[in-house]
């Protein structure tokens, strides 16, 4: 339970800091870079190494590569949906979430198959 509370506080602080940095930068396309900053990874990597060791954290990082590629597909989809159909941003960002799940789990399956 204590670990979860620590994770929550550290995650909240790191994500808030990256959001603050994104707020002050202009132009918007540059500020947008911080939407894909490694905030959650930075918040968790220390705790993961402390509890599970460096090899475990490295395995997580390998999967994070796939998650980041899936995030790329998601971000491109959101940008395209907003430009093409101009829906409210919350709707565009939510309906594209399955893109991330589909891409990341397909990539993970392919990686597992290639390893075995």
């Amino acid at each position: 339970m204590t670990e979860m509370v620590v994770r929550f506080v550290i995650g909240g602080i790191v994500v808030s800091l990256f959001s603050l940095v994104a707020d002050v930068f202009r132009p918007k396309s540059f500020a947008g870079l911080f939407g894909a900053a490694p905030s959650i990874a930075l918040a968790t990597v220390g705790l993961t190494i402390h509890h599970e060791g460096q090899d475990y954290a490295a395995v997580e990082a390998r999967s994070m590569i796939l998650g980041a590629i899936a995030f790329l597909a998601y971000a491109v989809s959101v940008s395209w949906i907003l430009r093409r159909y101009k829906p409210p941003t919350l709707i565009a960002t939510m309906i594209a979430i399955p893109v991330w799940f589909f891409a990341s789990f397909v990539l993970l399956t392919l990686m597992v198959r290639s390893v075995h």
Partner: protein, 156 residues
Amino acid sequence: MVLRVVCSSDTHGEIGSLKKVGINFSSLRETKAHEYLLRFVFGGVCTVFAGIMAKHFGPAVGGLFLAFPAIFPASATMIENHEKRRKAEQGMNGTIRGRMAASIDASGAALGCVALVGFAIVLWVELPNHNPLTVVVIATLTWAVMAYTLWAFRKG
């Protein structure tokens, strides 16, 4: 307060065009207290969620969630709302402009994702054999340099 920072970029092996990155501290005042709180809670929840996924399904699945775009819907929606509010203060309807601003933000995030791949590769390759603090610092610098370089290239 608006501060102009000029960052030079060498895009084609020679000193190319200058890419201007502005810093505008007054934009911090546009964010309301509940929006700061929302970001904090979202960040905390996502970090806890990533930990739970790793515990239940192992590091291979848990690692995917280190790059889950959980904060993105909230932050992009805030960008739309800020743009709309700005236009409303001038007596205009900024709905479409707000959505286009969010679209530009998503394009920027796409470039950040490529840099995020670089960050994760550094962690994956270097963590097992090197000092973790050094590796995390190098990975973060890799993200920052890749993100800026990609943005500068895209701006042409």
